[in-house]
Symmetry: C2
Subunit: 149 residues, 2 copies
């Protein structure tokens, strides 16, 4: 896909990550876009805010998109490489593409998704890297809890 468009969509996920950070949460955000570029849902990690370990950025965006009959042609954009939980979500529901803000601070399942036919756009965005580096340095215990380590 066009990388300028990918970066524009990433900005939505970054806004979500910053909103999560401002709430005292883990700064990971995501959004689900339809093929025509409409935001179907957007969200961010809510482990801290809702005391809910099941709400990662991607699952929050997916939830907020509500019930959909098909995910064909949709794109999940996320500030961070999707963990196995969120990668499994993408594979099960047939989300066509994932735009990944960065995979330096955490390398999840995006290679596995590529092997299974999902288009992966890895942006290596410095702002996303910086957000996670700062967060991991400040709250390593919380980060490890969020990825089950």
């Amino acid at each position: 896909m066009d990388l300028d468009l990918a970066r524009t969509w990433l900005a939505t996920a970054v806004e979500e990550a910053k909103a999560g950070l401002a709430e005292g949460g883990i700064p990971i955000g995501a959004a689900l876009y339809s093929a025509d570029g409409t935001v179907l849902g957007r969200g961010h990690n809510r482990r801290v805010q809702d005391a809910d370990p099941s709400v990662h950025g991607e699952t929050d965006a997916f939830r907020n998109a509500g019930r959909q009959r098909s995910y064909k042609g949709t794109t999940m954009v996320t500030t961070l490489s999707p963990c196995w939980y969120c990668s499994g979500l993408v594979r099960q529901f047939g989300i066509s593409r994932v735009i990944v803000g960065e995979a330096r601070t955490f390398h999840g399942g995006h290679d596995w998704l590529a092997e299974h036919g999902v288009e992966i756009v890895l942006l290596d965005d410095p702002e996303c890297v910086g957000m996670m580096e700062d967060f991991i340095a400040a709250k390593p215990e919380l980060w490890n809890e969020d990825i089950g380590e």
Copy 2:
């Protein structure tokens, strides 16, 4: 593990599945057990009830268990083979064991989990098979929506 104990734990997941069915929902239930046999959380698919596609049986049980520092030694018991989304949950958070009620009506990611060191106990329970067969026959569209097909 002891199969009688596995069947006892499965009964909790079956209760959840039946509760979901009684609510007009998809009859898949699950529970997360600690190593000492305590129920940490239990739940069922809530796609219909909450108009929330992110709540499968396993993710509901996981959510209802709240924040946990570690999942080492825990067991997820589910009435149906876990889909990729729920299999990813198990792998990411290091849940040690999955008891699967049945994998006849749907074959998810439990083989993949076994390859990655998760203990899989497949019970092939006739009541679980019957519940899903009846549901799929009655509401095939809803079932396909729930697995993204």
